[in-house]
Homo-oligomer: 374 residues x 4
């Protein structure tokens, strides 16, 4: 008989909606997974909570996030609140025996993140962090091809994560530009995806040389366009890293790259071949295998399809393409599957802590002007 899990979602913003869509979808797309019951949604604004619950089929709503923690009929607490609130909520939930499904990044400070990972180690609840890009079947294929030895030992990773949401110098100043609210800029936002992707594929980063750059040092005040306010964090971050395996990497991320919308791209060069990926075409992977005939070798463009689990749960035909929201459905599938299995799902708090440690190391490295160990 299929097990049922009751979930409580804290936060009804944009990412909250993405969660709700995925909660609805998971049992439809993956009928063999445990049932997920939308039990409770939390928003400090009562009206927002009621509307959200209504719209997305949650049984109840509350304005007090502690209800999610204390109610005994809740199995999973999902945290989709501003980042600075993650730690308190997650730790409390773990203390109360809940499983925790937390949005990325884990926390605003590495200390908070460490406390969260410590709690996860201490209490029985399972954890999962919302680095949903790792759930892409074609990214999983990259990992699989490496495991199969198709490119030999991976030697080098070069990755970027660029968008242009702050590319316009006239985009007004906001909390994103303030260090005490947002922490680092691109480093704490886009780069976290890139770091998690890099560790997923290449293993642990052991040292980093980090460089931060603020191209637009002031931005117009949102209230008065004539007033320029200082930008306190980075537009662009550059990292040169070593991996535990001995491989090297370069990670680069920008929020001011005009024309780039979702360019989390990487190339991996190995002893025997290479792999290329660009998330603006999230259903494609390119593979070069050395050793083919000299006159007819080249990068192969692989289209996502049922050969790349769990693509086939969505569509039966190659080349028909998954979308962003489908990746979130896979993530929730992973969450549920993880609760039922011996081995925890990836990335748990301890994995996501590593991202925060790398970020912290980049900050230390940029300050010190030299490489630092993680």
């Amino acid at each position: 008989m299929t097990r049922t899990y009751n979930i409580a979602l804290i936060g009804t913003g944009y990412i909250g909606k993405t969660h709700a869509i995925a909660y609805q979808g998971v049992n439809v797309v993956f009928p063999e997974t445990p049932r997920l019951v939308r039990k409770l949604v939390i928003d400090i604004n009562e009206e927002a909570g009621r509307t959200f619950a209504n719209q997305f089929g949650f049984e109840g709503f509350s304005t007090n996030w502690r209800d999610a923690i204390t109610r005994t009929d809740i199995d999973i607490v999902a945290i989709a609140t501003p980042n600075y609130l993650h730690a308190e909520m997650a730790i409390a939930a773990l203390e109360h025996g809940k499983h925790v499904y937390c949005e990325k990044p884990l926390a605003v400070t590495v200390e908070d993140a460490a406390a969260m990972a410590a709690a996860a180690a201490l209490y029985p609840g399972r954890t999962l962090v919302g680095y949903n890009y790792l759930c892409n079947p074609i990214v999983q294929l990259a990992k699989q091809l490496i495991s199969e030895g198709r490119i030999g030992k991976p030697l080098f990773f070069r990755g970027v994560n660029d968008e242009d949401y702050m590319a316009d110098p006239q985009t007004p100043h906001s909390w994103r530009c303030e260090r005490h609210k947002a922490g680092p800029g691109t480093l704490g936002d886009l780069a976290t995806h890139l770091i998690s992707m890099s560790e997923f594929l290449m293993g642990e980063i052991t040292d980093v040389s980090g460089h931060l750059y603020t191209a637009h040092t002031t931005r117009p005040s949102p209230s008065d366009v004539e007033v320029q306010l200082p930008v306190e964090n980075d537009d662009i971050v550059s990292m040169v890293v070593s991996y535990k395996s001995g491989a090297r990497g370069e990670l680069s991320s920008s929020r001011i790259a005009w024309g780039r919308k979702n360019r989390l791209a990487f190339e991996i060069h190995g002893e025997r071949g290479s792999i290329l990926f660009d998330q603006e075409r999230l259903n494609e992977l390119e593979l070069y295998s050395s050793g083919g005939p000299a006159h007819s070798n080249g990068f192969q463009k692989i289209l996502a399809g049922p050969a790349h689990e769990p693509y086939g749960a969505f569509i039966k035909s190659t080349g028909h393409q998954l979308g962003f929201n489908d990746l979130k459905i896979i993530e929730v599938r992973n969450l549920l599957v993880g609760l039922e299995s011996e081995s925890r799902s990836y990335p748990a708090f301890e994995d996501a802590l590593r991202v925060e440690q790398v970020i912290n190391s980049v900050l230390r490295s940029a300050d010190a002007g030299q490489s630092v160990n993680i």
Copy 2:
């Protein structure tokens, strides 16, 4: 107060599952649409119906499709059965005052299709046909750019729809190869998408010169690989067409194009510019506008985003990409919106009838060895 529609789905196969996913998703993604209630699912196999209902949250199930027609609490009848059953079911549903949402193609014969369109004209129920590729926001953008005059008057359409599901000569013989079961081959399958796309963007086709080609004239029997059975219909169809507007077109489709998985691609050349699309990258459109500076003009690659309604209902950020299943959600949205508005949604039975008329004309043309009028 939001209106509610009760839907009955006939058919629980692959496309039935796609429907179910979309029914679940539509009110989540588009909270402003009328409520869609999964009232009833029909399968001749009782167990299949029960399981499906359970899995996808239908209130009830039945083994008799006439229940969907006769029950007074059903507003919409969705037909996802083998094609030869569409006509009888759809006409009966219309006669009983139901709205009908029918999978493509409309019917196996143009006579059946015409009868369906006639019924749709006679009875009050609204109709919609599942040419879901038209729902792609970036395809809608193509239409919009034409309307805005960005390429001037469209003069030429060149389209292909290629897959490789029959490319292997060793793929066994099946009902798909028999004329009395499948009707035409590629012409009745892949080409229908291409014809509907072409008419959507260019307007009515008025005459056609059609050419059919069976490359693999026999295939191994599924029961005995030593026995070759005759293939009775086309692997490849080529059409040269005229549009009512005076424009011309070429439509070509193959089910034996190795490496092609979902290549519904077109280019439209107009008086002042061109548009390119390839469905294997369904979130991209290319636009060339004449008149730019000679040294810096070229095809512009547009990434789907919130500027392309209703992309933003799924994701807030450009370049994050919709998938195939999202297009079906948009289609169901269109169905519901169409029920509430003065103007019917596209494509209704009368629009889909045109596809069948073009197919029929291709057959006549191929027989006659010359162009025929639609």
Copy 3:
């Protein structure tokens, strides 16, 4: 000891310059080829001839093309004049024992072309026609891969040749628009390249269904923009063809395709794989081979390199790219090599005659409204 050939070039226009560049280059790039001596250049304008000879190192010049035919120190006559002059000059040259290197298309009428081929059969001189796109090493690779069986038996060819030099409806009327001067429009110009490419790769075309379309039926007079003059030939030609091998094809060509500059593109679908080419990227070929692992198969992008003879004569490194002018150097190499070998170079007059026969058949087919044999 290396043999020497003296060449006389008739015509100093644009294509004449391309010839001159290639004559200079051939012995440098291919030092093992016979020496080519620029003996004589002909232009009816004396000053133009003198300047050209000077600039491009021709030993002499003349205003009378018969000098090229009659001088006993001339081995090869190259014809780069307006097309309607080809036949008389070529036949005269052959009669005088010369080898003839003639620009494409062979002639303006199929009768002239047939007479040229007949003369070539009668007299000892070798012939070569300037379909230089066939000289591209990566196109030769396409041919080789087919010979090697990499895509199995070729079943279908779909080719286009699009440019936009007449796309602007305001481009003035010219001789190109007059049937008695230009003959067919796109069919006699761009399409000739496509037909020659198609026959080179797929073998002889045996029948064709042709469709002509004039989108811009009038154009402004070059002398008075207020006056519209009639366009007497085709902007777009569509052909559906059969090959002797039993394969089928579609050939399509347009001179009004905004944004297309040199898009001679084709795809070949075979029993076991596919090949793709687009001349706007003339150093790339894509190959799909069926039978690879399901999770990692896809089109391979092959970059031209020394593995593709004679690329290595130009550059030692893959991916460094040949240009258009290099293809002409290869063509002149082929001319010289052909003079020294038993087997004639391709395409000779008899091969180029076939292109004219296909063109003629398209015209007949378009008139008749049905397929015709070549």
Copy 4:
């Protein structure tokens, strides 16, 4: 009356042949340039010199490079010898009043390079260094678009230069792997192109943080595959740089990137737009300009054509493509034009010295573990 320059070429290896092809081509393609006379070629091997002279039309040959320096009928000395010989030859040539056309990189040590630049400043002869990729018309377009303000102020440059000529760990050890013969590895080879490209487009680099990585620390001895010899220099170099303008950059280069053949690629992000280039498609540039309509903005793919001087000197039609050898012809054109004009051609010795200074700074930075000023 057109001026004539006599050139002496020292070195008949691979790059020497490229020179010879370009010397032959320059006056054909650019008839308005001064005449270039192939006066003398030098090779220490007499037979090699004779053959080369013969093949490429040099009037004479010699085994003593000092002949090129001392003969009074020589105007230009071209140096295409192993890099460690550049300095002595170039300085001697300048001292004797010659113009010097030297292959890249300028020298093996920054001291030699500085001495060469000093000599160039002292003596009247003009200098040019063979960074031929800068001669690409589409790269010049990138520069022009920046000058026109099409992307606003450039803020960030991200460049790579990858090949795979050492990607196979079984590629035998050679002088390339020895520090005292080759100097740095990728840094002294591929990266020099990238640095020169970066400075050409972005201006002077003022500081750099450099990281070197040797992935394959040993390679088999060329004489005995069982013996592994140490690799003494870098396979991969990573640089984070600042420009004088205040902009930042990342430069990365690898000689072990399987599948990459000529990937000198960059992206430039500016205040108002972005530019993309990939040298494996050397006739294309992509441009994103902010401010277009939200629903139809994207990267524009510009094809090289006559609008990009001096493309039109080679071919009259856009999209027909230049090749690698054509870039060298443009370079020789620049050499000759530079001799006739007030302003020197780029890059002269002083410009190329900067590349060596950056290389030297990378070495110092890698040693010091921190950024250094150039």
